[in-house]
Symmetry: C2
């Protein structure tokens, strides 16, 4: 690695095979070219790989005010609006001028995960060697590769050291993989609702989601094309995902036993119409399923979901603690949610303990939010308070 | 109702259409004929209806030592072994001579829920009017009907008053519906991990299970026949069910991140083989799915699952509290499990509070078991201790 910024593509993107991931890449999206070939952590290589990203704020002359942001499983790199793309981003309330991740002070880079379908190379993009989508020929994906995708992006931008690396959920795992693989690159680490290694309950939840897609005849062993996609399996997967992202307490308060109002079942075949949605919570699940099916590629989902299950920070040095010791982070902020059943509060505590043991100045913030795993997306204030405080000038 | 025992069929059963529910009915199974026609709580009638049941112990001359036992969603009436059927029952450690539900002292009657597929009339049984399976022509099923099925069974046995009515999970709801509908019939009530009304999180979990079956093309709008059954949907439903019956803490302890050992994926088509089971927890889910698919009828499952969601004790008098006041129970034992995400500990507390307010001598036993909703099946000792104490001679 020369330290010189590599050529950066602008206005280009990883080609997406028609019918695979019919999603729009926003006008603010830029693309970093990966080293050619790009070597995957579990073996396999990729040619002409790219990572899609967006940026906010300005890199200063000292090039020391950059923050790298990793996303959860399903978002794009569009974390927040900008003049180039004024549509609201997935973390609109967190990232911006004067906000907790303050783009007046920081140069913020958010990457679309390698393996996803919002511009970065993944199973839905076209293999330049064949002109066909990779589909299941895309190499085995690991959280380590997603972390490296972020690293190559900042290197391509001429950044050698980060003021902070931040991520939640899958992005929280990516943060740990980043800090461990690229020791000393991130001065500060913010890990939100992540995990050093998925627990069996979370693996059961995710693998059942994958099963729903894998057993949908329309998945066609990954070779679906045109309009025929595993919509049924994706819908079940998203409903189950939605269940794991929120909490019973929130839904009790929000939906109770209110009746359904969506009447679409009236158009269903007679058998289906016999079992209509009867409660508002079922309408909500149907809506979440609708949104997801129209925006996410099934093979990409399978790759990313499996990467979460397989991640084990202990692979780097024998234990999660040893791995985090390698990171040489100066400061760490670890935030978790007590009602999170997917990435439990105990896992957050273990991450915080490991940073503490590694000598980082560590703050652990367990939140009593009702919102479960997705609290960082919907119950923003306590997260923003902790992150804003952590990122304030030393 | 004359008070005279009605004729009881022995050695007969509700005919089951071939290929619908190919399950064995044990040799100890007896059948009570329902009033003809049997009127369902939400409307609709059934002719020639039967309820399958088993008994243990002897009804005393005073006919006052009977206990009626309702099951969860999936078991048969075979709660325990007997000389007529020595195979172990689903509550073998709880029901028997000298056990907590002591068959030396009590005459125990366990009923297969109306609507189920282990001998009682349900969607899989044959409509005598047509000679064909009811399938979706079976009337809308409610927990109230399941409770009435139990009531008609004890009436057919010449029992007017019960020493106790006991049930867990769906059976816990049936216990509440029984006590409310047949005021004063049960002197004592034991409600285990039941609910006065399902909460939205539990509805979301169950309705997603039903969706998996309803959207399986092999469900064929309920008209599946022969060997083609919605196996894929049933497998997803059972995996998701298994997730809700146990707890994250149990699985962390039991499975951790141990690798899978089941190699069946090696025989899968190439696409599926790309995503094999990798962790022991996935083998476990596959095993649970295997067992369920071979033993339970999909339409019966849909009916019973939906009945749980729709149950609302408040329909009887305006509130759960008013409903339980009607029951005129002398004593109540309410047991719940703190790690239960399906029928939460708060719901158990609400049931106990309602019995207490109704003037019943009430004992509330919140258990710290790791086993979640299914604790009553696997972590027997604390349940047996509480039930044994409660049923001991006054």
């Amino acid at each position: 690695m020369s330290g010189q910024p590599r050529h950066i593509q602008h206005g280009s993107r990883a080609a997406v095979a028609p019918g695979l991931a019919d999603v729009s890449i926003g006008p603010a999206t830029k693309f970093a070219r990966l080293p050619d070939p790009f070597h995957f952590w579990r073996g396999g290589t990729l040619n002409d790989g790219v990572v899609a990203y967006e940026t906010w704020g300005e890199l200063n002359d000292a090039r020391d005010n950059a923050i790298l942001l990793f996303t959860g499983l399903s978002p794009s790199a569009h974390a927040a609006s900008s003049s180039a793309d004024p549509s609201p981003g997935w973390w609109e309330k967190m990232v911006g001028a004067g906000k907790a991740i303050d783009t007046d002070r920081y140069f913020v880079v958010c990457v679309n995960s390698l393996g996803s379908c919002f511009g970065s190379s993944g199973p839905a993009s076209v293999d330049p060697a064949t002109g066909l989508a990779y589909r299941l020929d895309f190499p085995d994906l690991s959280i380590e590769d997603i972390a490296r995708g972020g690293y190559e992006t900042i290197r391509a931008l001429g950044i050698e050291r980060l003021s902070a690396v931040i991520g939640a959920s899958l992005g929280g795992m990516a943060v740990l993989a980043f800090a461990t693989q690229f020791a000393g690159v991130a001065r500060r680490v913010v890990s939100i609702s992540g995990s050093p290694a998925a627990m069996p309950y979370a693996i059961a939840l995710r693998s059942t989601q994958r099963d729903a897609i894998l057993t949908d005849p329309d998945w066609q062993d990954g070779q679906y094309a045109g309009d025929v996609r595993p919509v049924t399996g994706m819908r079940i997967a998203r409903k189950l995902g939605t269940l794991t992202y929120r909490s019973a307490a929130e839904w009790k308060h929000r939906f109770g036993r209110r009746p359904a109002s969506d009447r679409r079942y009236e158009a269903l075949p007679p058998g289906r119409a016999h079992f209509p949605a009867e409660f508002a919570i079922q309408d909500y699940l149907n809506l979440q399923a609708d949104k997801f099916v129209s925006s996410f590629d099934p093979n990409c989902y399978l790759y990313l979901s499996r990467a979460i299950d397989r991640f084990d920070l202990a692979a780097h040095g024998g234990s999660a603690k040893a791995a985090i010791e390698r990171a040489r982070a100066e400061k760490a902020l670890v935030i978790g949610v007590e009602s999170d059943i997917l990435f439990t509060i105990n896992e957050q505590r273990a991450i915080a303990d490991a940073f503490e043991a590694a000598g980082a100045e560590t703050e652990f913030v367990p939140l009593a939010s009702l919102e479960g795993h997705d609290a960082f997306l919907v119950d923003i204030e306590p997260f923003a308070a902790a992150i804003g405080r952590f990122l304030a000038p030393d």
